[in-house]
C-alpha cells in the first residue's frame, strides 16, 4: 500500500528542493486484479493522469494543463477503494481531489516490464527484423495497388511489412502519373523536399556519351544531407529498360551494421562516431540550395540501436571536418562497409506498374547501368513519406481493424 505520510503541503520554495528520502521510497498504489497479477502505479502518475473533466479533455484526449502551473509532487493518496464488480479504482487525494480509473485503462498502462515491452513492440513501433540479401525471397511481400487503396487490412499489412522488413513491393498500379499521390494520401501526405513533392528518374534520351550508357548508381540512401532524412522512398516504374541493365539493388544496411559490430568492432566504432559532412549544392526551379548535414554513417540511439544510415558517394562533401588522424581509419572502415553492403545486396528488376517502397533510413539502394537509347528508355517516378506519418497510420489501422495481430513469417 501507499505510505500515509500526511505532512503539511510544502511551500513553492521547498518544492524546488530535492527530497532524497522521497526518491528512495517511491509511493506506490497497489491495485488488486483478480484476473491476473496485481498492478502497481506511482501515486504522482495517477494524480497527473486523472480522467475527470477538470483534469482531462475527452475531445482532444489530452491532459488539461492547469495542475502543472504549480504541480505539487508531494500529493498523497488519502483513501483508496476498489470496486471489483465495476472494475474501477477510486482515489481521494490530499489536495482534495477525487479520481477514478477503469481497470481496462489501468491494465493498458501497467508498469510491468512485460506490458511495457508489449506496448512498445505491438503498438509504438513494430520490432524490426534484419535480413541479408540472400534471404530476400523469404521476406519479400507483394501487395496489389487497388487493394491497398480500398482495403484497410491490406494497407495495414503493407505498412507493417515496411516497418518490420523495410521493403515491400506494390504491383499492378496503372501507368499514370498520380499513382504515388494516391498511395501517399492513403497513408497521410507526401514529404516535400528541395526537389518538390515528386521527382522523375530518367536518363536524358539519346545521350551522346561514348557508350549510350546510363551509368550505374551505386548503393546509397536518398538525401543524407537533411537532418530530417525522408523516411520512406516510393518508386513507381512507368517504363523499364529492355536492356540487361537497370536492375534494382537493395541492402538492409542495419544488417550490415550488425555484422560490422560483431566482426569489426573497431570499424563499427569509427563509422558510428566519425561525423561526415553530407552535402547537396544546386537549384531546383528558382530555389537555390546548399544543404549540409553532419552525421556518422551509422547512427545509434542512446541504447546503441541503429536508427539511421547515411551513405552516398556523390553527396559526401569534400569538406571533412574531423581531425587529420581520424581520416584514414574512417576510409578503411567505410571501404569495409561498402564491400559488405554489396555482398549482402539483393537484386531484381521492377516492371512497369510496380511501386517499390522501402525504408530510406535503413536500406541502401542502387541500380546497375543500362543502355539508354530512344527505343530503350527507363522512367521512374519517386516520392517520399515520413515515418511519423506512416507509424501514425499504422496505429490507427491497428486499433480500427479488429483483426488478429499480424505475425511475422
Amino acid at each position: 500500500m501507499f505510505q500515509a505520510d500526511r505532512r503539511e503541503f510544502p511551500s513553492l520554495a521547498s518544492q524546488l528542493e530535492v527530497h532524497p528520502e522521497e526518491q528512495d521510497h517511491p509511493r506506490l498504489v497497489e491495485v488488486p486484479d483478480p484476473t491476473r497479477q496485481d498492478m502497481q502505479f506511482p501515486d504522482i502518475w495517477l494524480r497527473d493522469n486523472c480522467l475527470c473533466q477538470d483534469c482531462f479533455m475527452p475531445q482532444t484526449l489530452s491532459r488539461l494543463p492547469q495542475l502543472w502551473n504549480n504541480l505539487d509532487t508531494s500529493v498523497r493518496v488519502l483513501r483508496q477503494e476498489v470496486d471489483v464488480e465495476q472494475q474501477v479504482l477510486y482515489i481521494e487525494w490530499s489536495d482534495g481531489h477525487f479520481s477514478q480509473y477503469p481497470y481496462s485503462w489501468l491494465r493498458e498502462r501497467d508498469f510491468s516490464k512485460a506490458n511495457r515491452e508489449r506496448y512498445l513492440s505491438d503498438f509504438y513501433r513494430p520490432e524490426q527484423q534484419l535480413w541479408s540479401g540472400r534471404d530476400f525471397e523469404q521476406i519479400r511481400r507483394v501487395f496489389n495497388y487497388q487493394e491497398l487503396l480500398t482495403d484497410d487490412y491490406e494497407l495495414q499489412k503493407w505498412l507493417h511489412q515496411l516497418a518490420v522488413f523495410g521493403v515491400a513491393l506494390v504491383k499492378e498500379a496503372p501507368l499514370q502519373m498520380d499513382v504515388l499521390r494516391h498511395l501517399c494520401n492513403r497513408v497521410g501526405f507526401m514529404r516535400r523536399t528541395t526537389y518538390g513533392d515528386e521527382f522523375s528518374v530518367r536518363a536524358q534520351p539519346g545521350a551522346s556519351n561514348y557508350a549510350y550508357l546510363a551509368a550505374p548508381l551505386p548503393l546509397h540512401t536518398d538525401m543524407p544531407y537533411f537532418e530530417y532524412l525522408p523516411g520512406v522512398t516510393l518508386l513507381h516504374t512507368l517504363e523499364q529498360s529492355a536492356s540487361p541493365g537497370g536492375v534494382n539493388l537493395l541492402t538492409d544496411a542495419f544488417y550490415v551494421a550488425d555484422i560490422l559490430r560483431e566482426r569489426y568492432p573497431e570499424q563499427f566504432r569509427v563509422l558510428s562516431q566519425t561525423p561526415v559532412d553530407w552535402a547537396d549544392i544546386g537549384r531546383d526551379g528558382d530555389l537555390q540550395f546548399h544543404n549540409i548535414w553532419r552525421a556518422p554513417v551509422i547512427n545509434l540511439d542512446a541504447e546503441g540501436r541503429c536508427v539511421r544510415i547515411n551513405h552516398s558517394i556523390p553527396q559526401r562533401d569534400s569538406h571533412f571536418s574531423v581531425p587529420l588522424e581520424h581520416v584514414r581509419p574512417w576510409y578503411e572502415a567505410m571501404a569495409t562497409f561498402v564491400r559488405l553492403a554489396q555482398e549482402h545486396s539483393c537484386s531484381f528488376k521492377t516492371t512497369p506498374g510496380d511501386v517499390l517502397t522501402f525504408n530510406n533510413l535503413r536500406l541502401v539502394h542502387g541500380r546497375t547501368g543500362y543502355d539508354d537509347t530512344d527505343r530503350n528508355v527507363r522512367h521512374i517516378l519517386g516520392a517520399f513519406i515520413d515515418w511519423d506519418i506512416v507509424y501514425s497510420r499504422l496505429r490507427v489501422l491497428r486499433q480500427a481493424n479488429v483483426l488478429p495481430q499480424l505475425t511475422h513469417p
Binding site: 530535492v18 502497481q40 506511482p42 491532459r63 509532487t73 528541395t194 537532418e227 553532419r294
Partner: protein, 405 residues
C-alpha cells in the same frame, strides 16, 4: 569544374601574382603544401585527396559531386610524387594507381584539416552556434526586422535568419493584415513544412464561448508537436487581430538556458531529464484522416557530444502511457516539476500587435499565452505555419555565399 576554371582565369586576367608554393609527401601517405616559406603548412591525408580528385573521371562538375567508383576504390592508394604549378596555383599529385590529380590552392585552403579552420567553417557556414539567454535579457537579444525589407532585401533576409539561428527568436514588423503573409514569408526562405494539421493553421478562440468567464484559457509553456520524430523546426505566427483585453500576451523562454541552469544548479534533475524517455502523443483527426502520433524521447535531448539537440515539453501532449520502470517515475516527476518551475521563472511576456510576425525555434524555445477575454468585440486572430531548419540553414548558406562572391 568551376573551381579550376576560376583559378586559371584569375591568372589569365589579373596582374601576375604567383605566390611561391611547395608540396611534399610526409609520412608516406600524406601530402603537405605550403604557400609561402613563412606561412603555416597544410597537411592532407592522401586517401582523402584521392577520394576528392577533381578531374572529369572522378568528379561530376555540373552536380558538383563525386563520381569516383568506390566499388574499385583502394584505400591503400598513396601519393608517389607531388609537384606544384605556381602559374595555376595548383598542387599536382601522381598516385600509385597511375592517376594524376590537380588541386587548386584555394580549394585546399578551404578544406584545411587545422582545427581552428574547421571550427570557423562550421560556425560561419554550417550552423551558427546558438547563444542562450535568460528571460531578463529578452529585450536585448530579440531583434526586429521590417517585413517589407525581409521580402525585398537579401541582406535583411540573411540578418533575420542569422538572428533566428543564434537566438532562436526574431520579430518581423509591418506585415500586411492578410492571411497570405505566413506563406509568403516561408516561401521567401523555401517552403512550408506540412504537418498532420495541414500547411497553415489558425489560432482563434471560438467567439462567444459560453463558459463561466468568457475567458480563453491560458496556454502554458510548451513546444509544438513534440510527438513527431521530425518536429517542425520554426514557428511563424502572424498576428492579424489582437485582443484589447489585458491578456493574450505571448510567453517565450529559451529552454536551452533553462537546461543550462538545471545542469549547473540541479545536476541530478538535469541527468534524469536527459535520460528518461517520455511518450509524447497526439490522437485525433483532421480532414477525415485519423492520426495517432507518438514519439518517445527525453525532455532534454543531447547529441553524442552532450550538446542540446532538442527540448520536448507539453502538458497536454504527454501520453498517459509512461514506459519506464516503476522506480523511475516519482523522481522524474520531481525533476520535471523543477524544469517547469524554472521555465516559468525565465519566461518573458510581451504582446504582439497586428502586422507582427513572430518567428522562433520550436526545437529550443517554449512558448505560451496568457488568458484573455474573448468576446465578439474582443477577439484575437493568429495565422501560423512552420519551416524546417534543413531549409533555413540551406537558404542562409546560399545568401552568405552570394554575399562573399
Amino acid at each position: 569544374m568551376w573551381v579550376q576554371r576560376l583559378g586559371r582565369s584569375m591568372v589569365g586576367h589579373a596582374p601576375r601574382f604567383c605566390r611561391p608554393i611547395s608540396a611534399r609527401i610526409v609520412g608516406k601517405t600524406n601530402v603537405e603544401v605550403q604557400e609561402q616559406t613563412d606561412s603555416q603548412s597544410l597537411i592532407f591525408p592522401g586517401v582523402w585527396l584521392r577520394d576528392n580528385c577533381l578531374c572529369e573521371e572522378c568528379f561530376h562538375g555540373s552536380s558538383r559531386s563525386r563520381k569516383l567508383d568506390w566499388d574499385k576504390f583502394d584505400t591503400r592508394v598513396r601519393p608517389l610524387q607531388v609537384r606544384t604549378d605556381e602559374q595555376a596555383q595548383e598542387a599536382i599529385v601522381s598516385w600509385s594507381d597511375s592517376h594524376e590529380s590537380r588541386f587548386p590552392m584555394k580549394w585546399l585552403r578551404e578544406r584545411s584539416f587545422q582545427e581552428e579552420r574547421q571550427e570557423k567553417y562550421l560556425a560561419d557556414f554550417y550552423r551558427p552556434p546558438s547563444r542562450h539567454w535568460p528571460g531578463s535579457q529578452f529585450e536585448a537579444i530579440a531583434q526586429h526586422f521590417d517585413y517589407g525589407q525581409v521580402m525585398d532585401n537579401d541582406q535583411v533576409l540573411e540578418q533575420w535568419l542569422q538572428a533566428l539561428a543564434v537566438y532562436g527568436v526574431a520579430l518581423l514588423r509591418g506585415a500586411p493584415l492578410d492571411e497570405g503573409v505566413v506563406r509568403r514569408v516561408a516561401e521567401r526562405v523555401g517552403f512550408i513544412r506540412r504537418t498532420t494539421y495541414g500547411e497553415e493553421f489558425v489560432v482563434q478562440a471560438k467567439p462567444g464561448a459560453q463558459n463561466f468567464a468568457y475567458l480563453s484559457l491560458p496556454l502554458p509553456l510548451h513546444t509544438d508537436l513534440p510527438y513527431y520524430e521530425y518536429k517542425p523546426s520554426v514557428n511563424i505566427l502572424h498576428c492579424l487581430v489582437q485582443t484589447e483585453s489585458p491578456g493574450g500576451s505571448n510567453l517565450l523562454v529559451d529552454a536551452f538556458h533553462v537546461a543550462d541552469r538545471l545542469r549547473q544548479e540541479h545536476p541530478e534533475d538535469f541527468e534524469r531529464l536527459c535520460r528518461v524517455v517520455v511518450d509524447w502523443n497526439d490522437i485525433g483527426s483532421e480532414d477525415g484522416l485519423e492520426f495517432h502520433n507518438i514519439w518517445r524521447a527525453p525532455v532534454i535531448c543531447l547529441d553524442a557530444q552532450g550538446r542540446y539537440t532538442r527540448v520536448n515539453h507539453s502538458v497536454p501532449q504527454r501520453d498517459s502511457h509512461f514506459n519506464v520502470p516503476l522506480e523511475e517515475v516519482q523522481s522524474w516527476y520531481e525533476s520535471y516539476a523543477k524544469f517547469v518551475q524554472l521555465a516559468r521563472a525565465e519566461a518573458h511576456a510581451f504582446k504582439t500587435r497586428p502586422g507582427d510576425v513572430l518567428t522562433f525555434n520550436n526545437i529550443r524555445l517554449l512558448h505560451g499565452r496568457t488568458g484573455y477575454d474573448d468576446t465578439e468585440n474582443n477577439s484575437r486572430y493568429i495565422v501560423g505555419a512552420y519551416l524546417d531548419w534543413d531549409i533555413i540553414y540551406s537558404r542562409l548558406r546560399v545568401l552568405k555565399k552570394r554575399r562573399n562572391q
